[in-house]
Each structure stands twice: as C-alpha cells, then as structure tokens.
C-alpha cells in the first residue's frame, strides 16, 4: 500500500486531480484541421491526376470550405491562448523540435493557399453553382471576388497561381499531409501523457482526418461517380483507422505500467463505452456497413454515413484530448 497526500495546498486550476487545460476549442481545432487537410488532399491529388473536369466538386468546389475551417480553427486556437497578446511570437520564431511551432507555420501557409486555390477557380465555381441552380450560394463567390478586388489581393498573384497551379498543387498536397499528421504528432510529443505518447497517433489522426474529408465530399457532391469513389476510399480509410486503433491499444497493453493504465481508460475505464460503442460503433463500423450496402446497390442517403463519420471524427478528437490528459505517470 502506498498513499500520497498533499501536505500543502496545491489546488491550482487546471492541474488537479489531473491536468485539464485543453478542452473543447483544441479538440474542435484538431478536427477542423484534419477535415481541411482531408479535403485539400483530395482536391490537389485529383487535380494532379488530371481529374479536374471529371471531379469538379472534389477539385474546385470543396476547397471553398477549407479556408473557413482553417480560419475557424485558428480563431479557436488563439481563443484558447492564455497570453494572446504575444501570439505573434509564434511567427517570429521557428523551432523544429516543437510540433506546435511548425504546425503554426503550416497552418499559416495552408490558410493562404486554401484561399488562393478557390480564388483561382472563381469562374468555374460560379458556373458550377449556376448550372445547378444554386443561385443562393452566389454570396460565396461574391465574397471571394470582393476579397480579390476590394481587399487588395493583387490580381497578378491569382494569375500567377493559375499559371503555376501544378506547382502550388504539389506544395498544397505536401502541406495538407503535414497538417493532417501534425494534429496527431502535436499530442504524441507529450511523453508526460502515455495515452498520447505513441508514434501511431500521427498516422491515426491523418487517416481519420482524410476519412472525414472524403465523407464531406461524398456528402455534398452530386456527381454519382465522385460519390462512389469517395465512398470506396472512405471504406478503406475506416478499415485502416480501425487497424491503427487496435494497434495503438495493443502497443500500450504491451508497454510499461503507465501505458497499461492509459489503455485501461478504453478497456474498462471511464471512456470504454463512449469510445467503443459511440465512436467505433456509430462513427466507424456503422458508416462502413452503410457504405458497403450502398455500393451493393441498396438505396442509402449518402448524408447518413457521411454525417456519422464526421460526428465520429469530432468525437474521437474530444475523447483523445480528454482521456490523454487523464493519463499521467503516477507519482
């Protein structure tokens, strides 16, 4: 038996009984970052494969949203800072050792490029929306045009972007992978929290982010082929995600005491039900089955598996942020 008690007061907010300084805003940001990374990954990948005209929604339309996701994510990050008046310190230094530092730089680059990408397609986007009679969405293209004309984004930058789109697509493809994987590596860099501290977390968050991206495209695209392709890709991603999750928990179970206790949070501990039933059950397995049935010809509204994947991805971030902070070295 060993018992530890504080002899002097130490009830500092956010530290006891366990660290909980990161909550909803950080989890939401991790979700939005992963989602934006997923959408941009598909947009640039299929552009580079020359599918620009076959898959207009993936390449041209979906990236309209990423700029907003990234900006909302950034705002949540700044909102969560406790000393925000020094936020610019983030961009006066670059520290390769700190995932948050290169993540901030990646996010800044992605937010600029994810604005230029749809701007460079502005005519196509307008034509696409009008073709489908979505005149109400003209506000979006109008806003983008205003950005260009009124808010002084020099026209030659857009022209240059159009001219060298292939080059920028490669950069954006690379950055979107970095953004997706960074959300996981950010957490895995904290060895004080055994649940986060495993190298599979980066790939797991990337897979989950890309899966939410494909679900997003599948949900909103009205091109049958595009939907079918995204649905197939999403199934492969969900299968990979399940494999990574099992692999992660196996790794922790085979690890030292602190890691076993971390795994216990999901194996009998307080996150067991929400993790296995709600996230894995309703956020991974059920949409996988629905997508499989749809591919077999059953009529299933694509919004259903897509929303399940998106809500599941969001819940996964919330669970990982909350549970990770509860897993600590015992002392």
């Amino acid at each position: 038996m060993e018992e530890r008690l504080f002899q002097t007061a130490r009830d500092i907010h956010g530290l006891y009984p366990h660290v909980h300084i990161w909550g909803f805003p950080i989890a939401t940001y991790l979700f939005l970052g992963g989602l934006a990374a997923g959408i941009l990954l598909f947009a640039t990948l299929y552009y580079l494969k020359g599918k620009e005209d076959n898959m207009p929604f993936t390449v041209k339309i979906a990236p309209i949203f990423t700029f907003w996701f990234v900006i909302i994510g950034l705002m949540l990050l700044v909102y969560d800072l406790h000393h925000p008046k020094y936020v610019l310190e983030l961009f006066t230094t670059f520290r390769i050792e700190s995932p948050m530092s290169w993540g901030a730089w990646t996010l800044a680059a992605v937010s600029v490029l994810s604005l230029l990408w749809p701007l460079s397609y502005i005519d196509d986007i307008e034509a696409y929306l009008h073709e489908r009679g979505w005149y109400k969405l003209d506000a979006i293209t109008k806003f983008l045009r205003d950005l260009e004309h009124k808010w002084l984004i020099p026209h030659f930058i857009i022209m240059m972007f159009r001219k060298y789109r292939r080059f920028f697509a490669w950069i954006l493809l690379f950055l979107s992978i970095i953004l997706g994987i960074y959300t996981g590596i950010l957490l895995s860099a904290f060895n004080a929290h055994p649940l986060w501290n495993n190298s599979i977390l980066g790939p797991l968050f990337l897979t989950s982010g890309v899966s939410t991206g494909s679900a997003f495209v599948m949900w909103l695209s009205n091109n049958k082929k595009e939907r079918k392709l995204m649905s197939t890709i999403d199934m492969a991603l969900i299968a990979t995600e399940l494999f990574f999750i099992i692999h992660m928990i196996m790794g922790m179970q085979a690890g030292p005491e602190a890691y076993k206790q971390a795994a216990h949070l999901f194996l009998g501990g307080e996150f067991t039900v929400i993790f296995w039933v709600i996230f894995v059950g309703f956020g991974l397995v059920l949409p996988f089955i629905l997508e499989a049935l749809e591919l077999k010809g059953k009529h299933i509204p694509p919004a259903l598996p897509a929303i399940l994947v998106l809500v599941g991805g969001f819940l996964f971030r919330i669970i990982m942020v909350a549970a990770g902070q509860m897993s600590e070295y015992p002392f």
Partner: protein
C-alpha cells in the same frame, strides 16, 4: 538540489518562503509538500517530499515550447520569459511533474530556483529557510561541491526517472 527526506517534517516553510520571495499570487504555489505513507498496519512508514520543478537535464517543456519562451539558462535552471510566452499550455502538458501553471496574468509560471538570489551567491528561498536544513543547493557540475559529495556518498532517488527527463532534484534516503 538535494533533499533529505528523513529530515523533512513537512512544515511547509519552503512553500511559504517561495510564495513570499517570488510574489506568487494567492492560491498558487511553485513548490509543495507531499506526504507519502506506505506499508500495512501496523508496519507503516511515512516520509515527506518537498516537490517543485526538477530543472531536468532533458527538458520536454523546452522542447515543446513553440516560441522559445521556455529555456535553460547557464547553470541548468529552466526558466520562462514572460513576454515571449503565448500561454498555449504545451509545456504544462509536457511536464510529468505538474510543476507549471498559468499565472493569472496569462503566462506560464514555475520555480526558478530563485535565480536572482543564486546570482548573488545566496541559496534559493526554500533552501535558506528550512528549519531542519534538509535541503541543499549547489553546483552539480563541480565534483568538489558539497552537493556533489552528498549525492556521491548518500543513497538517493529521483522522481519519475521512467519519464526520461533526467530530473535534477535528488532525494536522499
């Protein structure tokens, strides 16, 4: 720093001295005392540990800091530059000892080993005030310093060596 756990009576003088010396806001503390009881009745044993930042050699807090506000000064003391700190909390998450906290003004605050006193050749406030003289402070890089000799000759342990941070506070048995 070295602390003789069997001399410590858990009076909390080190905690109060630190709060006074460093103007630590009400309700916060940079150091704290843990009472550890082990064994089965009637064979119970108890000792106290005065805990604080371990000024680790391998610093996860400095590694994860995105702005470089967390840094190690000459001599090995880990410090935070207040007007470079954005208050993101990465270092708080990174510390296995929970030694850091958000100051009410927003930046991250922690034990500085009273580097302003050390620069004048004095001991940190907690060390100099200890009524049982259970704490010792000095230069571990100098093999002839009193503290190096203590660690060489006495049985000791550190907190959470398994976290891989190479902590620099030695508890002498």
């Amino acid at each position: 720093m070295a602390i003789e756990v069997n001399k410590c009576v858990g009076c909390g003088d080190c905690v109060v001295a630190c709060q006074t010396e460093n103007n630590v806001p009400m309700g916060y503390s940079r150091d704290w005392i843990v009472e550890i009881a082990r064994g089965e009745y009637p064979n119970l044993f108890m000792h106290f540990e005065s805990q604080r930042c371990n000024h680790c050699e391998d610093t996860p807090c400095v590694r994860t800091c995105p702005t470089g506000a967390s840094h190690v000064i000459e001599g090995g003391i880990v410090k935070v530059t207040h007007d470079e700190c954005i208050g993101c909390g990465a270092c708080i998450e990174a510390c296995p000892y929970d030694a850091r906290y958000f100051h009410p003004e927003g930046y991250v605050d922690k034990c500085t080993f009273c580097d302003h006193r050390v620069a004048d050749g004095l001991d940190p406030a907690c060390v100099s005030v200890c009524p049982t003289t259970c704490m010792h402070f000095g230069d571990l890089d100098d093999p002839d310093s009193d503290i190096s000799k203590l660690i060489k000759t006495r049985e000791h342990y550190t907190l959470l060596p398994e976290a891989g941070t190479a902590p620099q506070i030695y508890y002498l048995k």
